[in-house]
């Protein structure tokens, strides 16, 4: 059986379309292998932007026409409750700040109700886990479903774009990817058979670099790196805005399984090399090449800013939007990954990676042991020969609009932190991977059929922990820097909210906030306040003395009566519930009183014991010494007086007189001189 028409069409397609297609593929492969670009990707991105701008104008026109009638009186809708900005949810007020307190009012609950309703209509957190909203349409059906048929011209653009993306870009990318991988497999196998020599080293280096560049062509990746001088150096930790170890593993699947083979082979080659500075250099080249290749497979366009900040060592932290973050960063520099050890397919990838370099993989149980993790990170950071570690401290992917809470663990390790901000350009295709909505394969497919991935990478100046700064404060400082540079919203919410419920402490925080503004009755604390309430009630009933167990003086009652609101009219049937409640109050007060009494007695006896201690010890000693001193001075004075008297009265018998006086003094004690004076 044969289909002549199909055959004919196929033949036509192969003869007319294949040669240029193959030509393009070979051209790209060639370019990647020599590490050059002709700026096609940049031009491509510029053209796309121009087209999007056109589409936006058309859309705006249409929209205005459609909605001009209904949205006229929406202006006055604006004046309403703007004081409950959800953004300020976490403004931690000063603990010591004096808060306006007020008594409880029924309307106190309104702020919670209004805020709750506001969050139902729109909230800060969950929308960070879904695709970002765009201001213009980028001709992708997935971003907006009913724009396609809004005007004829837009529809044409969309159809052309669709054909271009699916019939040209996708096959081109897939073939570039497979060719790149094929080349790599062939080369690395060949290299593996070569004897250890200069040629082998050189070939390995070349193969690694070429593959990665090729892969990055496959996704039309355009990466702009800023501040390259801040690139992480090997003695620090690179903090990117993404999270966890798993990401690099995700990355592996994301870049199609062939890439896995590529990495496995590359790293195997490098891993077989002896441990030396050459191996390190080699690994760097190989991994950069592999990732570059990958980014090519996804048309990744990256702009690296401030290349002088590129980390060389230490910890690199970055914000996390998609599994591609790793790819983006790895195109420009090599990093060691940190993550949980996985089995199966990811396990192969991890083992391959760690063959060539010192990636940190944790066993399942070990991850929970924060100290073990920190210890291994610390050991890694302190070794200057190791690559910088790449960490995404958010722990999950956020949709490219905000940065969420950074886990503090990374910042406890010490050492220099190299913050990296990654921001994708959403106009060309959303890089965010909504893992709860799309599978990995669906995500790869979406990436391969989108226009391009354009992203900016900023290497920020290295930061280190200040003295007296807690790791949480430090983490927030780094986060603020990344948010500022990347133009992202700085949120304090925990990224883990994507999957798990928020912690109870946050609710308690609100409750605490509210209770601090709540004026306790008469602004008195504790039991005294409670008594006051009862007093108030008594004054309301106007007859305090009829209650048993009354403990207050008349003066007290008079005072409260003057401040109380107007007394109510009271009939006997109205009074009984009050009396009941009063009884309850009194019994509770009695309980408190006995408690207080107990307390007081305890403290009283304690202070008494203390007093006794003091008296027994030091106090008595000083008392005695003071007394004996007084006695001595008194004695000396009297002796002097006595001697004078003797001199005056008995000059002749001076010697004997003195002797007798002295004698009597010694015999009768201190009383003797007194008597003599009196005589």
């Amino acid at each position: 059986m044969s289909f002549p028409i199909i055959d004919a069409v196929a033949a036509l397609v192969f003869t007319v379309l294949l040669p240029p297609f193959v030509g393009i593929v070979l051209f790209v492969v060639f370019l990647a292998s020599v590490g050059k670009t002709v700026g096609i990707r940049l031009k491509y991105v510029e053209i796309l932007l121009y087209i999007f701008e056109f589409g936006k104008k058309r859309l705006a026109k249409k929209r205005r026409y459609l909605s001009s009638v209904s949205e006229l009186n929406e202006e006055d809708e604006l004046e309403c409750n703007s004081q409950y900005e959800s953004n300020n949810v976490f403004k931690k007020p000063d603990k010591d700040a004096h808060l306006e307190t007020h008594e409880f009012e029924w309307s106190d609950s309104f702020q919670y109700i209004a805020k709750g309703m506001q969050t139902i209509v729109d909230d800060e957190v969950t929308k960070r886990f879904t695709a970002e909203e765009l201001t213009s349409w980028n001709f992708l059906t997935r971003t907006n479903h009913n724009y396609e048929f809004i005007s004829v011209r837009l529809t044409i653009f969309w159809v052309v774009g669709f054909i271009f993306r699916y019939c040209f870009l996708l096959p081109l990318r897939v073939s570039i990817l497979s060719i790149g991988v094929g080349i790599l497999v062939v080369f690395t196998t060949v290299i593996n058979f070569l004897p250890e020599c200069q040629l082998r080293k050189w070939l390995g280096y070349w193969a690694y670099l070429a593959t990665f560049r090729l892969v990055s062509r496959a996704i039309s990746a355009v990466v702009y790196c800023h501040n390259l001088e801040n690139r992480p150096k090997s003695d620090g930790i690179c903090v990117a805005n993404h999270t966890s170890p798993i990401d690099c593993a995700i990355l592996s699947c994301d870049n199609v399984y062939a890439f896995m083979g590529l990495i496995v082979i590359c790293t195997y080659v490098v891993g077989s090399l002896p441990n030396s500075s050459f191996k390190r250099r080699m690994n760097k080249r190989v991994s950069m090449f592999c990732f570059d290749f990958l980014s090519g497979a996804l048309s990744l366009v990256c702009r690296y800013h401030n290349k002088d900040n590129v980390p060389r060592q230490g910890i690199c932290v970055a914000n996390h939007t998609s599994p591609m973050d790793v790819l983006v960063l790895a195109c420009d520099n090599t990093y060691d990954m940190v993550g949980q050890r996985h089995g199966g397919f990811l396990g192969i990838f991890q083992r391959a990676l760690s063959r060539a370099s010192d990636h940190i993989w944790f066993e399942r149980g070990e991850v929970k042991d924060r100290y073990a993790v920190a210890r291994r990170l610390k050991a890694h950071v302190e070794d200057p020969s190791k690559m910088p570690i790449l960490i995404f401290p958010e722990g999950t992917c956020i949709n490219n609009t905000s940065v969420m809470q950074f886990k503090k663990g990374t910042f406890e390790v010490g050492g220099i932190i190299y913050p990296v901000a990654i921001k994708y350009d959403p106009r060309f295709g959303d890089a965010f991977w909504n893992s709860s909505k799309y599978s990995m394969m669906a995500y790869i497919y979406m990436m391969m059929t989108s226009w391009a991935i354009v992203c900016d990478v900023w290497y920020l100046p290295p930061m280190s922990k200040r003295e007296k700064e807690t790791s949480i404060e430090f983490a927030n400082r780094v986060k603020a820097e990344i948010a500022k540079q990347g133009g992202l919203v700085d949120l304090l919410w925990d990224g883990a909210l994507k999957r798990s419920a928020p912690k109870k402490e946050l609710k308690e925080y609100f409750q605490q906030e509210y209770s601090r503004t709540l004026k306790l009755v008469d602004d008195l604390e504790g039991e005294e306040g409670n008594q006051n309430v009862v007093r108030r009630k008594i004054s309301k009933i106007e007859n305090p003395r009829e209650e048993p167990g009354k403990v207050w003086s008349n003066a007290d009652v008079e005072k409260t009566e003057t401040t109380s609101p107007k007394p109510k009219d009271i009939s006997s049937e109205n009074l009984s519930p009050y009396i009941n409640s009063l009884d309850n109050n009194f019994s509770s007060i009695n309980g408190i009183k006995s408690k207080v009494n107990g307390n007081i007695i305890e403290t009283e006896s304690k202070t008494i014991n203390n007093d006794i201690d003091i008296v027994n010890g030091k106090e008595i000693d000083t008392e005695i010494s003071k007394l004996s001193k007084d006695f001595e001075t008194e004695l000396r004075n009297r002796q002097n007086i006595l001697e004078n008297l003797i001199k005056e009265n008995v000059p002749n018998n001076f010697e004997t007189g003195l002797k007798t006086v002295k004698k009597s003094h010694f015999m009768n004690g201190e009383k003797e001189p007194e008597r003599q004076i009196a005589e």
Binding site: T119, D123, Q511, Y514
Partner: protein, 189 residues
């Protein structure tokens, strides 16, 4: 994402909802898009869990009561879009030019009253107020103090001496409060 959802919302539905709630069609579309994004199981209705998946609502001290307010009218513990919009319409800012429907002062007050009225008997007892107070302050204020606050609040608002607050007494207690402003929410775009 986006306005995909509006395809499922019929023109007639939008008109009906607009007539009932006073929301603009664009707002209804937006709310519907939000409704579908909250509806994780694609059931066309929301469960309590769907609501409490919003972190900011889950940590709201009165979050449970607010969610409960949506389930007042439904029998099977699910909220459909019409019910969803109707409840939210209570919080539409009051407009001077427009005839007030669900967002009148009276409706707003009734909504707030129901937040306190836990057992739906149209009266707020001391115990009910105490329970709501407990939700709002948590562990931070002693039971004795809360007790006395509840006691005093009830006493001051109670007019007929039955130690319960009826809706009319509730309104009287909030006579001087700017309910229109406090019980309204900003609507994005």
């Amino acid at each position: 994402m986006g306005n995909k959802s509006s395809l499922m919302l019929q023109e007639q539905d939008i008109k009906d909802i607009q007539a009932e709630t006073g929301y603009m069609p664009s707002q209804i579309e937006r709310l519907y898009s939000r409704f579908t994004s909250l509806d994780k199981g694609d059931n066309g209705s929301l469960s309590r869990e769907d609501f409490l998946r919003i972190p900011e609502l889950a940590i709201n001290p009165l979050g449970d009561r607010i969610v409960h307010a949506f389930f007042k009218e439904s029998q099977d513990d699910r909220v459909n879009f019409r019910q969803f919009v109707r409840v939210l319409a209570h919080f539409r800012p009051v407009k001077k030019t427009q005839e007030n429907k669900l967002n009148s002062r009276d409706e707003k007050l009734r909504f707030a009253f129901k937040m306190y009225d836990l057992d739906d008997d149209e009266r707020i007892s001391r115990e009910e107020l105490l329970a709501v107070l407990n939700m709002m302050v948590g562990e931070n204020i002693s039971d004795e103090q809360l007790n006395s606050i509840a006691e005093r609040t009830i006493l001051e608002a109670d007019r007929d001496g039955d130690r319960m607050i009826s809706f009319t007494e509730f309104c009287a207690a909030l006579e001087r409060t700017d309910v229109e402003q406090k019980m309204s929410i900003k609507f994005l775009k």
